[in-house]
Subunit: 213 residues, 2 copies
């Protein structure tokens, strides 16, 4: 049976299925055949809308990150809240805001998904870091933080957080070890931002405990 839909609608359908499958089975272990079958279309149709499997992955990631960045940007620009609170909320939005995306994030770090991980990392770095850096600079102007290199601090922090605190690396840590890793992270971020010991404790802890679900 032949069903015709508008290109945009079909594309979304394909991305929906792809996102689910990539998240469940990983990118390498998901064949284009799996996608075809679940969407209910023929090979030719898939390749009519996307020119390669990798382009589908790009599509999935773009959709995810666009959503996350829009959310984070909105929070960051809300001048009514204090900087520290905006910072916390913006960071939180990455962990919880996307209920579908989360499944994906869970799977990102399996070896087979290295490509996916790297692509997300790249997108986040160019999309989110500027937003966070902006906030840090505002904090500097307000005297909350102090550093000569806000952009570099953010890059270092985000990059580390994004790969060090993933589900695989943290899975084989005891609760105590994880606690220490988090404590060390907070300690280090405080040093990087030139704030007093303990000043970020409360704000950053919120992030980790929320993300543990």
């Amino acid at each position: 049976m032949r069903v015709v839909k508008e290109a945009e609608e079909r594309k979304e359908e394909i991305l929906d299925v792809a996102e689910k499958l990539f998240g469940t089975k990983g990118f390498d272990n998901t064949s284009t055949g799996d996608i075809l079958e679940e969407v209910g279309i023929a090979r030719g149709t898939l390749y009519y809308h996307f020119k390669s499997k990798e382009e589908i992955l790009d599509g999935v990631i773009d959709r995810m990150t666009e959503h996350m960045m829009a959310e984070a940007g909105k929070i960051a620009r809300n001048q009514e809240l204090p900087v520290l609170e905006r910072l916390t909320k913006a960071l939180l939005s990455f962990n919880v805001e996307t209920p579908i995306g989360n499944e994906v994030v869970e799977q990102i770090h399996r070896p087979q998904n290295a490509l996916m991980h790297q692509k997300i990392q790249e997108t986040l770095l160019t999309g989110i870091d500027p937003i966070i850096t902006e906030l840090v600079e505002e904090g500097i102007r307000q005297g909350i933080f102090y550093t000569d290199y806000p952009a570099e601090v953010v890059e270092m922090t985000m990059l580390y957080a994004n790969t060090a605190f993933d589900s695989i690396d943290t899975a084989d840590l005891s609760p105590a070890e994880l606690e220490k890793k988090i404590a060390g992270f907070i300690y280090n971020v405080e040093r990087l931002l030139g704030t007093e010991k303990g000043s970020l404790q409360a704000a950053l802890m919120k992030i980790f405990h929320r993300s543990e679900t």
Copy 2:
């Protein structure tokens, strides 16, 4: 023509070719057929020595990192040199010590090589970080550094350096931007290690300029 060799020798031959090809064309773009052809053996022979293509990659990486770690370990244990010098030399050994490995490092960060990158990252993290951490702890005992979380500082620093200063990410930076990135990195490491501003300048600069070849 049939040539028989001892398993170890054949394995090395295969790894030599694989290392070269993975470095040149990337892991995904190198087929097992390419390897067979260049080594001059049949399919069956390859799979007699390695049970999968991924195991070949693991073999290549293991060989590389073993060499690097042995070198770094030797330097770190040389009690005659001051800590700071040992630290510098140990870090230097990763960049220059392996003339073959370097080609690979050049290619690691292309998207197709995400898997390779991740595997190296993982091995370095479990193999090299302890060596460096040991040095940092010695520095702390000597009063050169100060931090409550030496292992976490090292993990953060190594992980960041390893992905932020790769050939792809730095390729599209202007010399001035790269300079700033390096300066920011040094500034941040000094803060993390609790040393005075400028105290690591000389030592760390040596690393970056040596690695630029």
